[in-house]
């Protein structure tokens, strides 16, 4: 494999690019039906939630909602509330980072 790494990287780039480009290329000049528009309008919420679920609820592949050992889950609450309240992404991100840092500092878990 080691000798083929550049080839692997080029192929990885190719298979990554097609899904990013083809829908934009084909759909952007087309009129979409109201149903298609309604469906697409839910994609951001659905995809963000789908990415977040396992990241927040699981730890090392197992369900973990114990606040004392899963800072990612616990920190999600202040992050969400502050973001909802301020409507400012930067403040939301800083709240999240700060919460995790404080949880690790005071609760003593390192995870």
């Amino acid at each position: 494999m080691q000798n083929n790494i550049i080839i692997a990287i080029v192929l990885m780039a190719f298979v990554t690019y097609l899904p990013r480009f083809l829908p934009l290329l084909y759909l952007s000049k087309r009129r979409l039906s109201p149903l298609a528009k309604s469906w697409l309008s839910y994609v951001p919420v659905a995809v963000l939630s789908a990415l977040l679920g396992p990241a927040l609820f699981l730890k090392e592949g197992y369900l973990n909602l114990v606040p004392a050992s899963n800072p990612y889950f616990l920190a999600a609450f202040p992050t969400f509330i502050v973001a909802l309240w301020t409507r400012n992404m930067f403040i939301g991100v800083l709240t999240g980072i700060g919460s995790v840092a404080l949880l690790r500092l005071f609760l003593g878990f390192y995870c």
């Binding site: 990554t16 990013r20 952007s28 659905a46 939630s49 990241a55 920190a75």
Partner: protein, 237 residues
């Protein structure tokens, strides 16, 4: 070039740069992690930065390092990358109605820098906006891309210096950004329902496990549920 052009260019550039800040904040530490791991796996500096430039997909790049380390074949690496990144199809489709005004070449470049994070920022900003200024879009995307590449290179060369990022909570930057962007998307009750549904479903699928399909399946199911709720609402009215 006249003064007006320069002025509006500057305004759009500054606007784009401001919007890229949260992405940059998340990409530098993850890029560092990628660079450190790439060096450990045995990639050279050219391969490491080249991958970050032309693939530009965090999770797929990190997964590929694991596969390279375990001596996986070319087919496995490319196929896994394809599956992991297939979710971008949906993001590309969702942004397409807002990018009609771009030329083909501009669309091709925009797609090259379409990531989870750039998608989330743009889809937030495109609500109620028509024909967003191209310079702003490309400034946000390109600065994010640059921060990813520089993070990777920095990690490769200075990896040993950055071992304590976790105690600062920096590893939470990307989840926090997704949470904040999700909060900003939630402008009606149906979206809360769709979000909760997709979140639980993807967690369930992840445990099952269905390999890397969990994001795509949960997104398709979530968007379909949302569209069905819209249809039902229309019938009622």
């Amino acid at each position: 070039m006249g003064k007006n052009f320069r002025e509006s260019f500057y305004i759009a550039f500054k606007d784009g740069a401001t919007r890229s800040l949260p992405i940059v904040l998340g990409y530098i530490p993850i890029g560092l992690a990628f660079g450190i791991l790439a060096a450990n796996v045995g990639l050279n500096s050219l391969e490491t930065t080249f991958m970050s430039i032309i693939v530009y997909a965090g999770s797929a790049q990190l997964i590929s390092l694991g596969l390279i380390e375990s001596q996986a074949g070319l087919f496995t690496i490319v196929m896994t990358t394809f599956l992991v990144n297939l979710r971008h199809t949906l993001m590309s489709a969702a942004l397409s109605p807002h990018l009609k005004h771009l030329s083909r070449l501009q669309q091709a470049y925009f797609a090259f820098e379409l990531t989870d994070e750039s998608f989330a920022v743009h889809s937030r900003d495109f609500k109620g906006e028509t024909n967003p200024v191209a310079i702003r879009l490309f400034t946000t995307n390109t600065l994010a891309h640059l921060s990813w590449v520089s993070g990777s290179a920095l990690g490769f060369y200075t990896g040993a210096l950055f071992t304590n990022l976790e105690s600062w909570g920096i590893d939470y930057a990307l989840p926090a950004m997704f949470i904040a962007l999700l909060a900003m998307q939630l402008d009606n009750k149906r979206k809360y329902l769709v979000g909760a549904f997709a979140m639980l479903l993807s967690t369930f699928l992840f445990i099952l496990p269905v390999g890397h399909w969990y994001i795509i399946i949960a997104t398709l199911a979530g968007a379909t549920a949302g569209a069905l709720l819209d249809l039902r609402q229309e019938r009622k009215v």
